[in-house]
């Protein structure tokens, strides 16, 4: 079976600084991978490469069997729209739009807007009663669930999450964790960056990064 994504000897340099080196990773459909490591270890750089927001300095990145290095900006944009759902630690919600519209904006840049689909996505994350609320009127946990609903609306193959519980309290962290578990059950491929060992434990595999290198691959 073709892996959902595959990294072959990826290297990323910022000037003289090596952010990533010798990264090899193969992820299959429905897998939950947790990338862990201390600050500055290259976790976010790796996530940016995976989401096609950044390009590796060396190595090969195959996304659905396609070499990402051979794609131009427009093609990368299409793949990002179609295949990838992004979840951020800082939520990155548009402050002047309602919860419903924050989901619909992802539909807008994907294909067409469908209010009923957007409502269903919000209902799925338990925000059916918050459709017209603006992000500032939502709690941190609700904002993150809104961010997840937005990432799911276009039914992406891969969910890339950068510290999704980093700004949440324990109770909300549990809600988000449950949500990820349900998404895995639905067959979503999840790549999650976290400092949180508790969150890491739920993954199928844990990748530890240190100084830009993969130290070990542990099976949870």
């Amino acid at each position: 079976m073709t892996p959902v994504l595959e990294l072959k000897n990826i290297e990323k340099k910022f000037g003289d600084v090596i952010a990533l080196e010798g990264i090899n990773l193969c992820v299959h459909k429905g897998e939950w991978i947790s990338i862990m490591g201390p600050s500055g270890s290259g976790k976010t750089t790796l996530l940016n490469i995976l989401s096609l927001m950044d390009t590796p300095s060396n190595g090969e990145y195959l996304l659905g069997g396609v070499d990402a290095g051979s794609l131009d900006e427009a093609q990368k944009l299409v793949i990002r729209r179609e295949k990838v759902g992004l979840i951020f630690q800082q939520f990155h919600l548009i402050p002047y739009l309602s919860a419903l519209e924050n989901v619909m904006i992802a539909q807008y840049y994907h294909s067409s807007v469908d209010e009923e689909d957007a409502k269903a996505a919000l209902a799925k994350v338990g925000l059916a009663h918050r459709l017209t609320h603006r992000p500032s009127e939502l709690s941190g946990g609700e904002q993150q669930r809104l961010c997840i609903a937005r990432s799911l609306i276009n039914d992406p193959e891969i969910l890339l999450a950068d510290e999704p519980t980093g700004n949440l309290d324990e109770q909300n962290e549990k809600v988000i964790l449950d949500l990820f578990c349900r998404l895995r059950e639905e067959g979503k491929t999840i790549i999650l960056i976290t400092h949180n060992p508790e969150l890491g434990r739920y993954a199928d595999r844990i990748i530890n990064l240190r100084h830009g290198k993969m130290e070990e691959v542990a099976h949870a």
Binding site: T44, N48, S51, M53, D54, A74, L77, V78, R80, R81, L86, F88, Q90, H92, I94, P95, Y96, L97, E101, M104, I105, A106, Y108, Y109, H110, S111, S112, V113, D114, R150
Partner: protein, 387 residues
Amino acid sequence: MVANKKQSLRSAFLLRSVFKSLRFSYDRTLIIFISIMLGACVTGAFVNVYLDIDSKMRKELKAYGANVLFTPQSVEKSLFFDQSDYEKSLHVIPKGSLLGASPYLFGTVRLSLGDAVMAGVDFAGMKVAKPFLEVVQGAYINVDFDERNALIGVDLAKKMELKVGSSINLVNEQSGFSTTIRIKGIVSSGDKEDGLLFVSLPLAQKVLGKAGQIHLVEAVILGDFDQINAISTELSKVGSFSAKPLARISLSEGLILDKIKFLMALVAFTVLLITSMCVNTTLSSIIFSRTKEIALLRALGASKRNVATLFGTETLLMTLFASVLGAFLGFFLSQFFGTVIFGSGIDFRFLSIPIATILSLLFAAVAAYFPIKRSLNLPVATILRGE
């Protein structure tokens, strides 16, 4: 059909987002709106004044009096020309361009205390041709062919000891014609008119025995120097006289108008430049505060074109409303300018609306171009990471 529905849903969503965005940052939106509106308002006002200034200024400059002089073709042959030729020639002048004209016939008459120079005139026409003539006592004669009343220059009145209401007996010794006229008003210009006796042209022709003859005509014709020159040439072709523009007045009219128009264009340009700088600064600040939003949209799959469309639509909506409103308000501002400068309103010119709107939109577009362009080259990953 389905594709159309999808497209209309997308367009409706874009507009909804744009209006929400404008409302959300209403304070900065308001600054841009007011800047553009003021720019369009001043531009609209100046365009209105610009389009109306020709007639306004020319009417103002007509206070200096006649700008075309009709004289005999050859003074060596005759000092007179036919009044009928002058009257025939008037059809050459475009309709509405002749503000007024008066023929003149001069001659010496004997009064009780001595000789005086009498001028036969068209009183209504002379009022336009010699607007500087001031009535110092009595009243002006407003009837063209009043043969019972006369005006007298202030110096002559003093010399002849004549007052308003005094009677003068005018006699043509050759024909035996005699009449008595009454002084209705004493006039002054501070110039040669102060030594003249003004009577109606037909009366002067009878007294001087010069029926149908005149010495000269003074006329006030609307137009710039070139137009007046062309009209004068046409007039001269009609008969026994030659018409010439009084270059001193007509040329200076053109020069003053050109300078005023240039000054107005310069002021309008400066205002628009200041407006666009204000728009540029404010828009830069808005876009700077929305870098995360732009980066997010790019991360969600928005192309550079999508982002440019979003900000372009926001800017266009804002500037379009502000420009059109400003252009209409410009008419009222032009009324203020008209009242303060010319003492009368300025005619509404519809052309001022599209001109002011398009100019304001152009300046706003230039102002918006660079901030939007900068926003498209933001490093998405770095911004979303919060670094």
